[in-house]
Symmetry: C2
Subunit: 416 residues, 2 copies
């Protein structure tokens, strides 16, 4: 390796994902091995994704990282695990044009810079760590010319954040809990890609909350230690449910899909409640959203919408098709209108064509909405929802080759 | 039996009760046989009780009933079951002073009048049906000179409302689920009377709610049919927990008592959440109360307060002693002050001496309360709690011999 100043950079974009069969509870805290399989749907990176640029240069004197423009330490165990695992798989790199030549053995001595950016608010509780760790591992692997496929990489991303392993693929993804003590078989596989079931539309309600939530790491640990229901769920309930969910996805059987996803979300929150001290992620607004969806589903011949909630009050609503999504948005905007001073354009974000289909162009249209007929005395509660994101299932990680999209400067390796 | 106009009347007073090991799920809907044992504490009838007068007269041409002054039909299956079972156990009655002589066989032909009154709001979700059916059965048994003891009567009250069987005794009471198909061994027994653990103080927070709750009958049925966790709870968790709770009560071991009561309340609500459609009885205010108690308990060497919630948002808080209750009331009034226009005298009802011990005489004292040190940035939320009831464990049913306390007119048998 010649000691001249060069910077090698790779930029990747990785989606976030939402579990429809939930991961809750680790059997190994360090390796992040779960107590059950889980299944997720990958969300369209156009609306929710992380972009990460990783760079290497002989001029870097330490590993450094910037998240959304702010520097953070990379010394945390989870980052170190991911860095160590990718470095161990690094291969020779040669870029004649730039005069870069890195031998396999050199990677141990080279420092990296990492810059990462979410196209959605980190604090909104939308699994930013899943997209973040998946993107870090994916980008580092490409930077270091590791030959592992995405499933193999998922087992590394898993060691950053469990659910990150499911962000290595688009469409529907299964995280096999695995059996091996070293975690080598605890990795993600794609069940179907995002084209398999392209009718689905997803609306996320970002719910206002005044409470600080229990971190999922702490919550899971408490549940494993104290819930008398978690083991039964992991051993008896989830294995059957996972198989049924795989079938439902394969057959695009929305009725079964919705029933399983809703039941599993509710059971995960039940286990949280059965934990000592109890964990409440859903709030009254979450409950009202569930109640809206349940009443509508029951008033129709078959379910129109599935709901699922992660470790927070936000609702992820999966509509069977565009028509159902349009009706859903009308019902949601009736029950959860924005504050009077809000701008509709920032209240419904993402794919705004759903709003157009719903015939809603301005706040007057929101005010004129009819109450959902299936809800008796439907109330309108302003301000309970911060905003809605309209999106759909999406693709897995991609490399961004256009250097203008890189988050680090190509010569200094520092944030642009 | 001479056909002259007389009215025979009996008035009884029966407490309500709150389960500390919960009853949730029936194995027989008609006989009301539960899927697990439960344990309750009887609440002081001075603050929460039902008073019922039952009367019989040859002049009554039908069975009639008045609840809190309003006439209701007695034709419902649950009332009919109780009436039939007591009539089947009726014995000869002779009252020479009044010239009443009723032979065992005559009871089938005689109609009864029932008047019942709760000394607390029926709609507050404070187990009014438990006290009501217990009182009905107890009073009818005395009216008809049935020889059964309170345990045997509890098996009849059970057929009116499951939890009613536990209101036939004071102190701590266990409802044995029983094994017999006819329900004959599914009855209540007293574990200890109200003097055994007389340090305990109970504060009930009646929580404001805008939602209509699922009836417990419907909720239980849905849970039995759809929850995949209920059976595990009933078969694996509750049997052990019941034994531990009996030990804790026997030994007045407040630490274990609180841990078991809180865990069981949370698990019952977890099963509700695991039901399809999910049932939410607790709301954000309930969650905040739990959080207050959990934080305080964890900041002390051992638990000061146990919480338990039935099929609604109200918190029943059991303090280990008077000192803990005084501190609890201060913390609660800090976090949940009344609306500005409220009258303290109607905001804290029941045993007001706790309020005095807490040094609170008027609204200025409430405003001047210090935030609980164990809660960071404690917020004050006006109007979330409707009122507090200060009470304690209490005695079982009693007969009220003073005719002035009867709810029916001694000559007409109609409501006074």
């Amino acid at each position: 390796m010649e000691e001249k100043t060069w910077v090698r950079m790779v930029t990747a974009q990785t989606p976030t994902n939402i579990a429809v069969i939930k991961y809750w509870g680790k059997r190994d805290e360090t390796l992040i091995l779960p107590v059950n399989d889980s299944i997720s749907v990958t969300l369209d990176p156009a609306h929710l994704c992380t972009t990460t640029t990783v760079a290497v240069s002989p001029s870097f004197d330490q590993d450094r990282m910037w998240l959304n423009g702010k520097e953070f330490s990379l010394s945390g165990g989870r980052y170190q695990n991911c860095l160590r695992e990718i470095r161990a798989r690094a291969c020779d790199v040669q870029d004649e044009e730039k005069g870069i030549k890195i031998a396999k053995k050199d990677w141990e001595k080279l420092n990296v810079h990492v810059a990462s950016y979410n196209n959605f608010p980190t604090a909104a509780g939308l699994a930013s760590s899943a997209a973040g760790f998946a993107c870090l591992v994916f980008a580092l692997a490409k930077l270091m010319n590791a030959k592992e496929d995405n499933s193999e990489l998922s087992a590394i991303a898993r060691q950053g954040s469990g659910s990150a392993c499911r962000s290595l693929f688009g469409g529907f993804v299964k995280w096999n809990m695995g059996k091996a003590e070293d975690g080598s078989d605890s990795l993600a596989v794609q069940l179907v890609d995002e084209k398999h079931w392209d009718e689905l539309v997803i609306i996320i309600a970002v719910v206002s909350s005044r409470q600080k939530e229990t971190s999922s790491t702490t919550g899971m640990r408490d549940s494993v230690e104290t819930s008398l229901l978690l083991e039964h769920r992991a051993k008896e309930v989830v294995p059957k449910r996972t198989k049924q969910m795989e079938e439902a996805i394969k057959n695009r059987d929305f009725g079964s899909f919705a029933q399983l996803a809703c039941a599993d979300s509710n059971q995960f929150h039940a286990v949280c409640l059965d934990t000592c001290p109890p964990i409440f992620y859903m709030n009254d607004t979450s409950h009202r959203i569930i109640s809206c969806v349940e009443k509508w589903n029951r008033s129709e011949e078959s379910p129109q919408v599935a709901y699922t909630f992660d470790a927070g009050p936000n609702a992820v609503l999966i509509a069977r098709n565009r028509k159902a999504a349009t009706q859903l948005l009308q019902k949601l905007l009736f029950c959860f209108p924005p504050n009077s001073d809000a701008d509709l354009n920032s209240y419904v974000i993402g794919d705004k064509s759903i709003l157009k289909d719903a015939g809603i162009e301005d706040m007057k249209d929101v005010e004129a909405l009819s109450p959902p007929p299936e809800i008796k005395n439907a109330e309108r509660s302003k301000g309970e929802v911060s905003y809605f994101i309209c999106t759909k299932p999406g693709r897995g990680p991609v490399l961004l080759s256009d250097e203008s999209q890189a988050l680090l400067h190509p010569e200094t390796g520092l944030p642009k």
